[in-house]
Subunit: 343 residues, 2 copies
């Protein structure tokens, strides 16, 4: 028998998340029988991404929707503990879109989302941190969608976060001037001193529009938008001619229950010839190896780093996830589930 | 002495245009002396474009703003009547951004907007109609900004208008399925029967969202947006994954006095990977000869046509311009000024 804990989606949140939106379940289950091609994994680590908040909504409001009464889903790092698949022998470590549960039966060849075996030299925390799909999102969103040119000014919101902190550094690596927007003095210090941005704007205590006018007298060439709302509006007021906005997330509105308010002045989009391009990481899946190779090189050269905010205890997963929305987290929040006792 | 009529911008309109926003002035002026490099033109024809409504606003709300008390500006067709410039001898016909007045002194080499001599085989009405910058706007906005592929579905608003009618036809020429949106049954019939669209939606009498769902079950690949507002919102509800929106105008809001309402649901922009790209014709100025060559070939092949809605009398200019906003016009509205008597 296996001790099997789960966090299920109990209700679709309206407004801010609460613990009551999640239901904890603990069972003892028999060791599962595997069909051909199946594997049993033990999920060892879970990372938390803001976009998972969207997956809690009803279908049609995001590109993915978790069914009520089923486990929450998020990026995970797991180990194969039983196998009926030649390419995934017992002991293989994988990254995957993992249900929030101790054990999952998977079928790698038919899984709609990739289950990727990890090379032995990569740590699970690195796979969920610096080399994660979040980092690839930063890489492709900035370089492919934003198309920054040497010397251009790039603005990034949620600049101390998992995606934003990588955008700041990659934009510096490719030769841009970078302004990070973050909440609070501590995060702003981190963005400038640790990540290397040229300046930071504390949206909680500063007038973002006024600071952008001051810091970007020639306008914002590329805006990597993680938050939407008022900061998007302030950037639009300061966008350069032929400016590009890579729309990655709209965290400012995730808790509002209402649709993200959007772009408020389309005439400016016209007469400044602005490109606004939404994207999801799925578009670039075929090129993640390129992104990871570049990032590994930059890490080796000491030009790229990542903060992994590692927490412990499967029981704490919802609380750790909620930290993304109350401004408490830095970098990537990763929860180590802790060894479940077998009984 | 020359009889010299002018229409001046009297006040910046808030809400719908009225005749009171324009002031008519008539003077008799001495035949002007020309400095070296200057020419005197007689403005024979004026065409009316919706974007001129934006130029009536205060600076900062558009890429061009007409000063109060100075003549309105719009595309014009003129003839050189006195010349101090070797490349523009007396009799040369030119297109230009023309002040609404009988005579203008111009300096072709320093003019901020191009003054283009017309080849003798091109009629002035054609230069202001089918081969105008409006048509080039349709050409570049569709082909360069919208990037339509063979077999894709293109939706165009203001489809019976000067720009929209060209977009419908060019989209058919490059192998797309085309849905035009226009106001009223007559215009919709014109869009399908005369311009060759696959279907038309009458936004005044039909539910645009419901009709788009029905007509575009696989979603809208390219939307050429001339109007913004509710029609933009309905298209966004039906946009295909990797859909592109070429934002050319926002006529629905020009008369509201408020900023164009914009894109209302940014999450959809993200999870459908939508590109929203505003543009102005100025971006493509260096390539207009290519556009005109293509259009001439299509005209010769009988695949492209244009309706010129020709009206008479300089005195009627504001009224003709206002016809763009009350749904009365078709194609390009051109006003022949009528020969002013010389006295």
């Amino acid at each position: 028998m296996l001790r099997h804990r789960q966090w299920l989606l109990k209700s679709r949140p309206e407004g801010a998340l609460s613990l009551g939106d999640f239901e904890f379940r603990e069972q003892h289950i028999p060791d599962p029988e595997l069909a051909p091609g199946q594997i049993l994994v033990q999920n060892l680590m879970f990372s938390c991404a803001a976009t998972m908040r969207n997956w809690m909504n009803a279908p049609g409001r995001s590109h993915r929707s978790i069914d009520l009464g089923t486990p929450m889903l998020g990026p995970g790092g797991s180990q194969v503990v039983k196998s009926n698949h030649a390419r995934f022998p017992v002991g293989t470590r994988v990254t995957l879109l993992a249900p929030w549960e101790d054990y999952s039966v998977l079928e790698p060849d038919t899984s709609p989302t990739p289950i990727t075996a990890l090379p032995s030299e990569v740590k699970l925390t690195e796979a969920l941190g610096i080399y994660s799909l979040n980092s690839c999102t930063a890489y492709f969103g900035l370089l492919e969608v934003g198309q920054p040119k040497v010397g251009e000014t790039v603005v990034v919101s949620a600049a101390a976060g998992s995606v934003g902190s990588m955008v700041v550094q990659i934009a510096k690596i490719v030769g841009c001037r970078v302004i990070g927007v973050a909440g609070g003095r501590d995060k702003c210090d981190l963005v400038v001193e640790h990540l290397g941005a040229d300046a930071a704007i504390d949206y909680k205590h500063e007038d973002v529009g006024a600071r952008l006018r001051e810091l970007c007298p020639k306008g914002v060439d590329v805006y990597f938008d993680n938050v939407g709302g008022d900061i998007l509006a302030a950037v639009m007021d300061n966008i350069a001619v032929k400016g590009r906005i890579a729309v990655c997330g709209q965290v400012a509105s995730y808790d509002s229950g209402a649709p993200a308010p959007g772009l408020r002045d389309m005439m400016r989009v016209i007469y400044r010839s602005v490109t606004v391009r939404g994207f999801v990481m799925d578009e670039f899946m075929q090129d993640v190896d390129t992104a990871r190779a570049d990032m590994k090189r930059w890490v080796a050269e000491g030009r790229l780093r990542h903060h992994e905010d590692i927490r412990t205890g499967f029981e704490n997963l919802p609380h750790a996830f909620m930290a993304l929305f109350n401004g408490e987290s830095r970098g990537t929040v990763i929860v180590e589930s802790g060894e479940p006792a077998e009984g």
